[in-house]
């Protein structure tokens, strides 16, 4: 999509001339046959809450739209808003393709989503605390014990430990999808080190530059408070003995990590230091930063490194990214890690089917946001069903993310299905199956003009002493026709998400 031309002035839109530059933007747009369309109820008929967006945008000629697109691309290239792809030296950085048509969410609908997310995070947090203390939920048989303790992300080191404020999940990105009836469902919870929020903020910045007048039409809720909210949350969970203000750092795996841009972006916007493992050391169970003026005490680490790599003395001993004795300092209560250690068990895909049960168990409420129905291959009945219906289901490895380790049954070859069948039987605990949800679609610019492309939505929830949901989130979009895979590592792009304050 984005032409990575060497000299930004020469970014062109050549090759798209056949589309007819003099037509209006939505003139030829045909919504998807079955998927829910995020903008249109029917061809030419927008949802009510989308009118303030569709009406002015629809006045644009395709040619004018193309000009704005070129200027947005230029902004992304010049600002180096990129993610790294592990390839040769020259092509290491790729631009995350950005689509200019926003994805609107009605204000009223957002309120429900927000409540649903808050409820979910609260339950997940209580689950983690319970799991690493009394384990009531296991003892009462709500979740099978074997399923939990065999999770790769379960950390017995956390048993009996109280993180400050009993907060485990400081930042969560929950993946939502909309089915053909327009109902939002939770696809997965990301409670380890969810990424993507920098794109939300950058996308908004670019949209405001490219379409300033659109924002006057559609009162869109602000996303720009995110860094401030995150900072506040991190400060609120600092150890009791921390400095005032506490010293916060962001711990990154380093410039070769695919999300380094985001790490640096957040450090910049939070006004905190971006550090690598080598910049920190532990002495007397306290964490210090190596500075030009000697060691400086660190109170809170917003870490973007997985548990496995945090401390070579406790987890993977070959890790060069972590800090020896960090876990000792953590357990001594001298430093806060956000997110806490051991949260991965809450977003294990085999535990995910129990989140609605957790909500009932801990909060005595019904889940506001429903899960996608899920078959747990560890259960013999479910496994038999999955093996019999491989051609209809999506099968996911429970501990993978980013669209890796996944089988899209209907689109797979017989051989691929046979391979997965073997894998499932060899290690059933490692797999779940779900019916394929036809994700909602949104008008997206393609080689053939505007066409529906499937999207999901990842809102971000920030928790410290209080909990806050970023209004909107990252809308990821598949760029290939018919594809339901939206992950950036699999060639997806993104859109700005607009929570419309005036929409019904």
């Amino acid at each position: 999509m984005v032409r990575h031309s060497g000299q930004p002035e020469t970014v062109t839109t050549a090759g798209e001339r056949q589309i007819g530059l003099d037509g209006r933007l939505f003139a030829n747009y045909q919504p998807h046959a079955t998927a829910w369309d995020e903008l249109f109820l029917a061809p030419g008929r927008p949802h009510d809450h989308c009118r303030p967006l569709v009406d002015p945008l629809g006045q644009l000629l395709v040619e004018e739209f193309q000009q704005r697109r070129a200027s947005a691309d230029l902004a992304f290239v010049n600002q180096g808003i990129t993610f790294s792809v592990y390839a040769d030296r020259r092509g290491v950085e790729k631009i995350f393709p950005f689509d200019l048509i926003p994805r609107p969410v009605a204000g009223t609908e957002w309120k429900v989503l927000e409540l649903g997310l808050l409820q979910r995070i609260q339950a997940l947090n209580l689950f983690l605390h319970d799991l690493y203390h009394e384990q009531r939920i296991l003892k009462e048989g709500v979740i099978p014990e074997g399923l939990v303790v065999r999770s790769k992300a379960y950390r017995p080191e956390m048993i009996g430990f109280n993180p400050p404020g009993r907060q485990y999940l400081h930042v969560v990105g929950t993946d939502l999808v909309r089915d053909t009836n327009g109902r939002f469902l939770v696809l997965e919870d990301n409670g380890r080190t969810p990424s993507g929020v920098s794109y939300v903020l950058e996308n908004r910045m670019v949209m405001k530059k490219v379409f300033p007048q659109l924002f006057q039409h559609c009162r869109v809720r602000r996303v720009e408070d995110y860094p401030h909210r995150l900072r506040e949350a991190l400060c609120s969970v600092a150890p009791a003995a921390a400095g005032d203000p506490p010293c916060l750092v962001l711990l990154s795996p380093g410039p070769y990590n695919s999300a380094y841009f985001e790490h640096s972006f957040l450090a910049r916007h939070l006004g905190i230091e971006l550090v690598l493992g080598q910049d920190l050391f532990v002495d007397d169970d306290k964490v210090f930063l190596k500075t030009t003026h000697g060691p400086q005490r660190v109170d809170v680490i917003y870490r973007r490194i997985d548990d496995d790599f945090l401390d070579p003395k406790v987890f993977r001993s070959d890790s060069l990214l972590g800090v020896p004795d960090l876990i000792r300092a953590y357990r001594a209560g001298n430093v806060t890690l956000a997110n806490a250690v051991g949260t991965g068990v809450a977003d294990d895909k085999a535990i995910y089917p129990f989140v609605e049960d957790m909500i009932r168990f801990y909060l005595s409420e019904e889940a506001i946001l429903k899960n996608v129905p899920t078959y747990i291959c560890a259960r013999p009945d479910d496994r038999a069903y999955v093996l019999d219906h491989l051609d209809q289901l999506v099968v996911k490895a429970v501990n993978e993310s980013g669209g890796y380790g996944m089988l899209m049954g209907p689109f797979a070859s017989a051989q691929e299905r046979a391979e997965f069948s073997e894998k499932i039987q060899a290690n059933p605990r490692n797999y779940i199956g779900q019916p394929i949800v036809t994700l909602s679609a949104c008008p997206t610019w393609t080689e053939e003009g505007l066409a529906p492309r499937h999207v999901d939505l990842r809102p971000y929830i920030v928790s410290g002493k209080s909990v806050w949901v970023l209004p909107g989130g990252l809308t990821r979009t598949a760029l290939v026709k018919g594809s339901l895979v939206v992950n950036s590592s699999q060639g997806g792009g993104s859109k700005d998400t607009w929570v419309m304050e005036n929409g019904r």
């Binding site: 600002q79 410039p255 910049r268």
Partner: protein
């Protein structure tokens, strides 16, 4: 600030400055060759020598040498490599530099890899090198106006001026390697033209004539480029600026160098205060410049030891390390530093 980040700041600006100066050297050589007949083997080889390159593949003819010093990624000090390294350092410390700086640096990095850059190189070599010079000047200007002048800024200054001091000495050394046809040519128009070209490559032509009205080019040019107190590319001025930056970082008054970085700087600045251009000529300009360049390298090493290679178990910042300091003072008193710096 974090030692590792300080090191990236230092190197980002060093690489930018290096790209600019490589462009200056290439340009001055080009200009010299326009006016005078120089034997083929002496035309471009000196540029490799002063860059410390002994293993360039191929013959040292004009195109090969220019290409190697401009584009060759296997040559770590080529302009392309320097810009790449500057940009990579900047990418790592994007949370430290201003957004405007990053955007421009990234823009020119992309430009360097675009057909526009190679076309300009083919079409108008001199304008191409001018453009390279402007990259550093522009980013320096942007940083001056958009970044807090705190510690990170001081590390930029330290890197920039240390590199510049070294490069000015190198450019001056070109003169040594471009031989005059015979000794009788000293002081002739050919000789003078060489000096003027060197002066021009350091943007020093007009400042020189204002400072030293009517002075014949020649040794006076060397004097100007090494010793002038206010010309921003003279070795002495560059080192004094480094000294100011180092003291802004350490927070000590100029009279107390305190750490190794400060001391090595003070020694070289102090020595330049005592010697004259005649001493340089007597010792041999090339030999004296080589010694200056080596001492600048030693300062770079001292900066690294003082600020970047910080061990994990230093006492806290509030109490400076008295033990090691007194040891160092002892060494200084026994003249160990003198012998080190004289070597």
């Amino acid at each position: 600030m974090i030692s590792r980040v300080a090191e990236h700041c230092f190197w980002m600006s060093r690489y930018l400055e290096r790209a600019e100066n490589t462009a200056r050297v290439l340009e001055v050589n080009q200009t010299l060759l326009l006016d005078f007949e120089v034997p083929l083997e002496q035309q471009w080889k000196p540029l490799l020598i002063i860059s410390g390159i002994h293993d360039m593949p191929g013959e040292p003819d004009a195109e090969t040498v220019q290409n190697y010093l401009t584009w060759e990624t296997a040559n770590p000090s080529s302009i392309a490599s320097s810009l790449q390294s500057a940009r990579e350092n900047a990418r790592i410390i994007r949370e430290v530099i201003s957004a405007d700086m990053w955007e421009r640096l990234n823009y020119y990095y992309l430009w360097m890899h675009s057909p526009a850059a190679s076309n300009l190189y083919q079409r108008n070599r001199s304008e191409f090198y001018n453009q390279i010079k402007r990259i550093n000047q522009l980013i320096h200007g942007i940083s001056e106006g958009t970044m807090a002048h705190g510690e990170a800024w001081e590390f930029f200054m330290l890197g920039r001026y240390l590199e510049r001091a070294c490069q000015t000495a190198r450019i001056l050394d070109v003169k040594y390697h471009i031989l005059l046809p015979t000794p009788e040519h000293i002081g002739t128009p050919v000789d003078n033209a060489h000096w003027v070209a060197i002066l021009t490559s350091c943007s020093g032509y007009e400042p020189y004539h204002k400072q030293r009205p009517g002075a014949d080019p020649g040794v006076a040019v060397a004097d100007f480029l090494i010793f002038d107190p206010i010309f921003p590319r003279s070795v002495r001025h560059c080192l004094r600026t480094c000294q100011a930056a180092a003291h802004a970082i350490s927070g000590r008054p100029l009279s107390q160098p305190g750490n190794e970085a400060g001391r090595t700087l003070q020694e070289l600045v102090g020595w330049l205060q005592l010697v004259h251009i005649e001493d340089f000529i007597r010792a041999g300009l090339h030999e004296a410049l080589t010694s200056v360049i080596n001492r600048i390298h030693a300062i770079g090493d001292a900066i690294r030891r003082t600020y970047f290679d910080v061990g994990p178990h230093l006492p806290p910042a509030a109490c400076p390390p008295p033990a090691s300091e007194s040891q160092d003072l002892e060494k200084a008193a026994t003249g160990q530093y003198q012998t080190q710096s004289a070597s």
